[in-house]
């Protein structure tokens, strides 16, 4: 067993887990944060994407122990009680998702992209999110939503934008 303490969505949390436990399993099974999805569990789909110290990572590929002491942001930490993050809002407005299972991962990847590049071109969005697969949608409305959110974030940077 290893003891892991991470700062998840602004809150310090600790768990004792077998060493092979991934960050994804830690979040889902130990912290009950099921917003991050398990699609393939081997790094191929992006459904498990979270942001660790500002970078988008596949949490199914990272061991929980590797995240020890680091800042982790999951989909649950993106919105406040009464306000969705502009990316979430745009995904809602553009009806970008269908089954929604890929959604949290796509949104977290988009967040990491916009933090780094506030005005991405369509090609930059496609490149950055090339590893976030979706079986339902055809992606078009995701790309539009990300561009729209980028516009809004540029115009009025939100304070909740951790």
């Amino acid at each position: 067993m290893v003891t892991v303490t991470i700062n998840v969505n602004g809150e310090k949390r600790t768990a004792s887990v077998p060493p092979e436990t991934t960050l994804l399993r830690l979040l889902r099974d130990d912290f009950n944060l099921t917003g991050s999805k398990l699609g393939c569990d081997v790094g191929d789909c992006g459904a498990c994407t979270v942001i660790v110290d500002g970078k988008a990572v596949n949490s199914c590929l990272m061991l929980a122990a590797q995240a020890d002491g680091r800042d982790v942001l999951t989909i649950e930490g993106l919105a406040t009680m009464d306000r969705l993050h502009p990316i979430q809002k745009a995904f809602e407005k553009y009806a970008s998702l269908q089954c929604g299972f890929c959604g949290p991962g796509v949104i977290m990847s988009a967040k990491a992209l916009l933090d780094e590049n506030p005005d991405p071109t369509v090609q930059e969005i496609r490149d950055a999110l090339g590893g976030n697969l979706c079986r339902c949608t055809g992606y078009v409305k995701m790309i539009e939503a990300i561009q729209d959110a980028a516009r809004i974030l540029r115009d009025e940077p939100v304070e909740i934008n951790r």
Binding site: K37, L78, G100, L133, R135
Partner: protein, 800 residues
Amino acid sequence: MTIPARFTEPADTTVEAPPKAKRKAAVRREVGRSIPRLESHAKVDGSAEYIYHLRLPGMLQGKICRSTVPHGRIVRIDASAALAIEGVHAVITGEDIRTLIPDPYYGPAFHDQPILAIGKVRYVGEPVAVVLAADLHVAEEAADQVVVEYEPLEPVFDEVAATKPGAPIIHDSLRPAGMFPDLQYLKGRSGTNVALDARVLHGDVEKGFAEADQVFENVFRSRKVVHATFEPTVSLAELNGSNGLTIHTSSQSPSYVRAEVSRLLGWPENRVRVRTAFLGGSFGAKLYIKLEALVAACALLVRKPVRIGLTMEEEFYTITKHGATVRIKTGMAKDGRIVAREVETWWNGGAYADIGPRVSQKSGFTAAGPYDIENVSLINYAVYTNDPPAGALRGFGISQIVWAYECQNDIIARSLGIDPLEFRRRNILHDGRPHATGTIMTNAEIDEVLDRLSDRMHWDVLFDHGSGPVRRGRGLAIGFKACIAPTTSVAVVNVYGDGSCCVSCSTVDMGQGSDTAMAQIAAETLGISTETVRVIHPDTDVTPYDMATLGSRSTYHMGNAVRLAAEDARAQLLRIAAATLQTDIEELEYRDGAVISRSGARMTMRGLMLARFGMQAGTVIGMGTFTPPYTKPDPRTGQSPQITPYWMLAGAAAEIEVDTETGRIRVTKLVNVGDVGCAINPAIAKRQLNGAGTMQLGFTLFEEMRFNEGQVINASLADYKIPGMLDVPEDLSAELVEFPHEHGPFGAKGVGETGMFSVSPAIANALCDAIGVRIMELPLTPERVLRAIRESENRPLESE
């Protein structure tokens, strides 16, 4: 009280649909609005409920041990090493299941699939045993320690070879399920791998060929592909009270699961409760029985809750799309009219029938295409092989069939020097004309689909094919499907004391947006706003029967049931008001939670409840049942005056670039046109077309399950590529053709599969347009394209 909900029509439908002009949609408030999905907030904040998240107190997790041989007798199963591992609770085998269920074979068409293998395995990956442990890691580790010894039998993988004399026989005898009376004649048939041969005969095809000026014959193939849904298939079972069982499952067919698990256990249906949540995609993968019978049996054997979830790799060994071989022969008259068409299709159903026989029959009868052909003969063989089982995948076999006839139509058009669009116009089956099954084509806008494709592609403008190594081409294709029949949907609409309302139905929202559509239909009928309606997710203890969420049937069938249920509730409210206000019911209207009379009198919900229940509380329950009429086809000729409640017409067109040095195709533009009757929610309907188009793009360009002696060698999303953002055409669009269907709810038809039908042949036709090379087998991988190019240049590539 219920309004008689089953509409009937004279069996003889010689009547034509009303002309288009008369079929104009009325003005509506809720239906036809592109409302964002009701659940979209929960999906963007991560809180949406999926069964995959569910954990039950004290539950065990199961890991399946799977067959390593494609065909063989089980000599011995030794679980001792697995049982010795600390934390392993039990190892369950087929023989253990038999102590609970003496005849543990299931399946919607044939009772051929054992819950766990008994005596024999029929494909690599077949479940042989299950290890149960509280900790999934322990179960996984122990599953590797279960030793199974096999005596190998000769396997057969090819669907045509499996029908030849002397082929290894996979099932000793056929065991049709009771649900389909028309399969009973197959009972006990032995010595064959053909689970069903279904025919359609129309006119005299031999005479047609004899009289034809020219005859074309080709063979087209499609390989097996997989659904690859993002939420893994998952089921949990727990004991419920002293004699019941609850199954939580990612299923598209909760009513079926209840019936089939009850049948297996020999229990009445009311002791089995089946519930679902949102599904993280399904596309036909989570239909009928998948893990439900297994978790039910395990939970009853160990008297603890049991959960089994598949890995992505295991999905490849659970259910696939049918591979198919299609031989198509077409007789042409000089004037470019098709005079005879014969299609023979072998469907690779894998080791267990699942719904395969239905796929082959129901898609098979459309195999001549949406064309007016005097002489038609269609034969379909549902074939057992030693591949993983094949079942439904978004389109139910249609895209394999369209692949054949739309590629061949282009071959013919080119050979006769007729423009491909014009060729189709000359041959399409117009509204009011009989299809090869004898059923009249009605409410089907095929000409309009062609017009829209032509407009969107600027078909009459000269196209630049480019020069140098990268060439450009464009192609189009049309296709159609007959919605499955006969099926039934039942819905309940509850109006509560404050006027708010819930819809109870067993339609599963797996991403297609059915919750929103059903809410829109109820809201339109009740004169309230969609956003205030809540849709209760399937729970067989609460929600009434529905055949299943499949085959693009829900909008039409469940939509009608919901409409009828809402009408029933509204009628009851109006009757209460009419009695209280002492007016005629015709004078009254129910809107925004109140009854308003023409004279201006108004009864609020409070008043209505007081009048009915004596206080401001209560429930008004409306019910609706919908079963469209259907006439069973004649088993010899496939003829029926009423084979389907509606036809779904589709067209796709593509512009591509092909690199002649690498064989790589880039689709630059893809247009998908769907005839949807009337869109309940146009935005959602378009998303369905684009989503389906993208999925079929993957099936066209690169998706293909690769096998080695029955073993899938690319069973991961790393090795089995599905379309990502970088693969989607820059110009991807969808267009709806909307002429209300006379019996659809507010004119709607289904749309979930429509966008799949025509994409593959449109791209292959574009490839041929670009470089004159014709490929007869999907997918159009760079290697296959390059080989074809080099062969056409008489300098073939070396074989692998």
